[in-house]
């Protein structure tokens, strides 16, 4: 961040803006960038999901609004914004309104934690990976409140299921994160990414020692996101729409937006832990080769890193969508059994394996 | 095929025809006999057909045997009530509810009988020939 900050101060200095003002204004910029990127990414994701599902089921997908249906989600978003906000009489008013906000805001924070490139690291604290996992858990409180405040039995069952599900899948995630922390000797996401730099390029990525961990993390992330085959809280064939049955208009849009933004954030987290985050898969950056000017090259490297990050994330997102297209839904009891009896022991074994691996293979690497 | 002589021996007052057995008033005993293993095992009740002949309602029990692949038609004429055969065939429950609903026949022994299609507040039994359409007594309250 420091490099961009200094560029920003220099830039404002040309207009005689004092350094202090620049320092105050500066934090607003990342916020705006994240907010704008989030909206953009969600719009793309919703469209991508529909297109991908259409691809798997031999349909065309949305193709009416804009070229190739590109503006379809924009149209949907406008529709949701303009819709009347229906609130049933018997709801718990304040909580009913608060629930979507609680479900959405943590997602924004999660986005802020992820370092999209070595410079675009907005909230760099030493335990950011731990912070991410913790904050990613908060939306479930919004879900519970939604289920409770809706005063609807379907919503209530949906939110109860949601809690059971998130609680049981939080533990495998923690163990996988622990093994990654052991490998990287750090809990800072940026450090974890940087420690994946190796002379064997792609082989340095943690997916290779920790492939089992990736599988566990992938499954648990899908479960935390309440997506198929773990979409029990909103299983439409059983619970109509689960916890958001009574929501409409902008409140529903917040849940919807939060779900997709969280899907992207979780994928980004997986990419950061296992696929070298913003590192280029070639071991060098194309910008370095193109631009001879060092300052410009450096600036473009940051954007290139962000590009790689987004590319890898979209691959993971595609995988999640693929899973949705193929699998039927699990039963709630099977879901809990699967986590406690299979994933949790597996993740502990994985953790032990990584510890041994680290001790014997990588020990020489620790400075 | 069914053993008519044996049936006649047990139930002297029934009329046995080519394609049906006619029983006065209450068919429960005959059906329970037909269902029992010592006779041809009529294990399926395919349906109960009720027809309103103004003076009486005719119930026709259609039995089927998966063992001998035979259909049997047991006919009885009833006025207002008759014995329920839910104890013999559980599938009779909906049929009896339907006949109770549409013909107003009460089935004694079926504790759970209720109107199947029409709302509980409906006046009259639609499949009776005497049913008046657009009855003024009918109040749309639910």
């Amino acid at each position: 961040m420091n490099y961009i900050l200094s560029l920003f101060i220099d830039f404002l200095a040309k207009f005689d803006v004092p350094r202090e003002v620049a320092l105050v204004i500066f934090p607003i910029i990342p916020f705006c960038v994240v907010a704008a990127a989030l909206i953009l990414v969600v719009l793309i994701l919703v469209l991508a999901e529909r297109k991908v599902l259409a691809l798997f089921t031999q349909r065309k997908g949305p193709n009416r609004v804009g070229i190739w249906g590109l503006l379809q989600t924009v149209a949907d978003a406008i529709k949701l914004l303009c819709k009347e906000n229906i609130e049933p009489n018997v709801t718990d008013g304040i909580l009913f309104t608060l629930a979507p906000i609680i479900a959405f805001v943590p997602v924004l924070i999660c986005w802020g934690i992820i370092p999209f490139s070595s410079e675009f690291d907005f909230m760099s604290i030493s335990t950011s990976a731990l912070l991410f996992v913790t904050i990613a858990f908060i939306p479930v409180i919004g879900t519970v409140l939604a289920g409770y405040a809706s005063n609807n039995k379907y919503s209530l069952i949906g939110s109860i299921r949601s809690v059971a599900q998130v609680l049981s899948y939080e533990l495998p995630i923690a163990f996988v994160l622990l093994s990654i922390a052991v490998l990287a000797s750090s809990l800072n996401i940026k450090d974890i990414i940087l420690s994946q730099i190796s002379m064997f390029q792609v082989c340095g990525w943690y997916i290779f020692p920790c492939f089992l961990g990736f599988i566990i993390m992938f499954i648990s992330s899908i479960a935390e996101l309440n997506r198929c085959p773990f979409d029990l809280p909103e299983a439409e064939s059983e619970l109509v729409a689960g916890y958001n049955t009574e929501y409409s208009g902008m409140r529903f849009a917040l849940f919807f937006l939060g779900e997709y933004a969280m899907m992207f954030a979780s994928s980004a987290f997986i990419v950061a832990l296992f696929f070298g985050g913003f590192l280029s898969p070639f071991g060098f950056y194309i910008s370095e080769k193109i631009f001879s000017n060092n300052v410009i090259a450096q600036l473009f490297v940051y954007f290139e890193q962000a590009f790689w990050f987004f590319l890898k994330t979209f691959v993971v997102v595609f995988l999640i969508m693929w899973v949705r297209a193929v699998l039927p839904r699990l039963k709630s009891s099977d879901l809990l059994k699967f986590s406690w009896k299979f994933l949790l022991p597996l993740s502990i074994i994985n953790f032990l394996f990584i510890c041994i691996f680290k001790y014997f293979v990588l020990l020489g690497g620790i400075k | 095929m069914i053993n008519i002589d044996l049936l006649k021996e047990y139930f002297p007052d029934i009329t046995v025809n080519d394609d049906y057995i006619f029983v006065e008033h209450d068919a429960f005993d005959v059906i329970s006999f037909l269902k029992s293993k010592n006779y041809v095992d009529f294990d399926v009740l395919t349906q109960i057909i009720a027809t309103d002949y103004v003076d009486f309602v005719q119930l026709s029990y259609r039995l089927y045997s998966t063992v001998s692949n035979d259909f049997l038609n047991v006919i009885t004429n009833v006025q207002n009530e008759t014995s329920s055969i839910v104890k013999l065939y559980k599938s009779a429950h909906f049929d009896e509810c339907e006949i109770y609903d549409l013909f107003g026949i009460n089935f004694i022994g079926n504790d759970n009988i209720h109107r199947l299609y029409m709302p509980e507040s409906w006046v009259g039994h639609p499949l009776l020939k005497s049913y008046v359409q657009n009855d003024e007594r009918l109040v749309w309250n639910d």
């Binding site: 299983a235 709630s332 | 027809t51 559980k90």
Partner: protein, 369 residues
């Protein structure tokens, strides 16, 4: 003071995404376990039996397609069969083969829709689209043949309304050629899927005794270990000249019902293939001209037809009474399957409800009539 062990009463339907129409189930839940279940039917009651009493025999014919809108040909045939038998008329052999062809194609379409919605109930969205893709081909054939996609009104007293043109026969035979591959595709993504099997195997077991007690027929009965198919045991039309197998499974669970229905798709295709061969080579008339349907006046009499429809035994009883039927009674398969629900659902989880209910292939217009 509130009772912490109180059960929750939840109302599923009549407007619910997976009750396949307007079934209402009043469930009593203890956590996610169903403690009691009460089906409430009648939301789609149109008085189809009462309607017959004020219409002529021909006027009633288009209505019967609506009893089971996914298997209109079966109802249509059941009614026509009654009238033909009451009038004592023979129908030409070619018309019989055309009827068999239509009914078997209809059975395939109906089973495909069942498969799609069943998988949707289990949460898999893709199979729905594959099934609808193939069902669409059948509906196109029906549209070309009868002018309607669902309510065909194609069979008439004494035969069928139109001959099948050669182009449509070509369409049908190319469909029959492609279909086995498609069914294999479904089986590849469904049959051995661990999530699917874990949700279906040993779920909603109908014992043989229960199946007979509740008068379950069709694929549901065959999945309970009774090899009863009225196409074989009481052959109607030309079924005794056709070669086909009936299958049955012993499990009685949702998975057996799935297996039986998948097998039925193959056997129906086999029947369709044989029908095409006959229809191609035959130049007989398709209608018995001696029937004058418009002013039918049938003397008193009674006939019950027996049809193995896609959801079990469909039978129509017509008691003739001059110019209008005195009484028409319909017996349908789903009607009895709904009655079985309380027996199957008690002590199951809510998630199992969908697998069990979906596997029974219940369609509500058939129940409510």
């Amino acid at each position: 003071m509130t009772n912490l062990l109180k059960t929750m009463e939840i109302n599923v339907g009549p407007q619910h995404p997976s009750t396949h129409g307007v079934l209402r189930l009043v469930l009593e839940l203890d956590g996610e376990i169903i403690k009691s279940c009460k089906p409430v039917v009648g939301y789609l009651h149109r008085g189809i039996e009462k309607m017959a009493e004020s219409r002529s025999y021909l006027q009633y014919l288009p209505i019967v397609d609506r009893i089971d809108y996914l298997g209109g040909f079966f109802n249509s045939y059941a009614y026509c069969d009654c009238i033909e038998n009451l009038l004592n008329v023979e129908i030409p052999v070619k018309a019989q083969y055309i009827r068999v062809l239509c009914m078997e194609l209809n059975r395939i379409a109906s089973h495909l829709l069942w498969l799609g919605t069943f998988m949707l109930d289990l949460g898999a969205s893709s199979p729905l689209f594959y099934c609808f893709r193939d069902r669409e081909r059948i509906l196109h054939i029906f549209e070309a043949l009868t002018g309607q996609r669902m309510m065909y009104n194609y069979f008439t007293f004494g035969g069928v309304r139109f001959d099948i043109p050669n182009e449509i026969l070509e369409d049908i035979s190319s469909f029959v050629e492609d279909m086995p591959e498609c069914i294999k595709d479904y089986e590849n993504i469904i049959t051995t899927n661990p999530i699917f099997t874990s949700r279906c195997v040993n779920k909603g077991i109908i014992t043989k005794r229960n199946a007979l007690q509740y008068s379950i027929t069709g694929a549901n009965l065959r999945a309970s270990g009774v090899g009863l198919d009225f196409r074989k045991s009481c052959p109607y039309l030309t079924y005794d000249n056709l070669e086909f197998d009936i299958s049955y499974a012993d499990g009685g669970d949702a998975y057996s019902r799935y297996k039986v229905r998948i097998f039925e798709l193959y056997s129906s295709l086999k029947i369709v293939e044989q029908c095409i061969d006959f229809i191609r080579s035959s130049s007989e008339p398709i209608l018995n001209k001696s029937v004058k349907p418009v002013m039918l006046n049938i003397p008193e009499g009674e006939y019950t037809s027996i049809v193995e429809a896609s959801r079990g035994l469909t039978s129509c009883t017509v008691k003739a009474g001059g110019k209008t039927p005195y009484r028409v009674k319909w017996r349908t398969g789903s009607y009895y399957a709904v009655q079985l629900l309380p027996e199957l659902l008690v002590n199951c989880e809510v998630a199992d409800m969908m697998a069990i209910f979906g596997s029974l292939d219940v369609i509500l217009p058939e129940v409510d009539k």
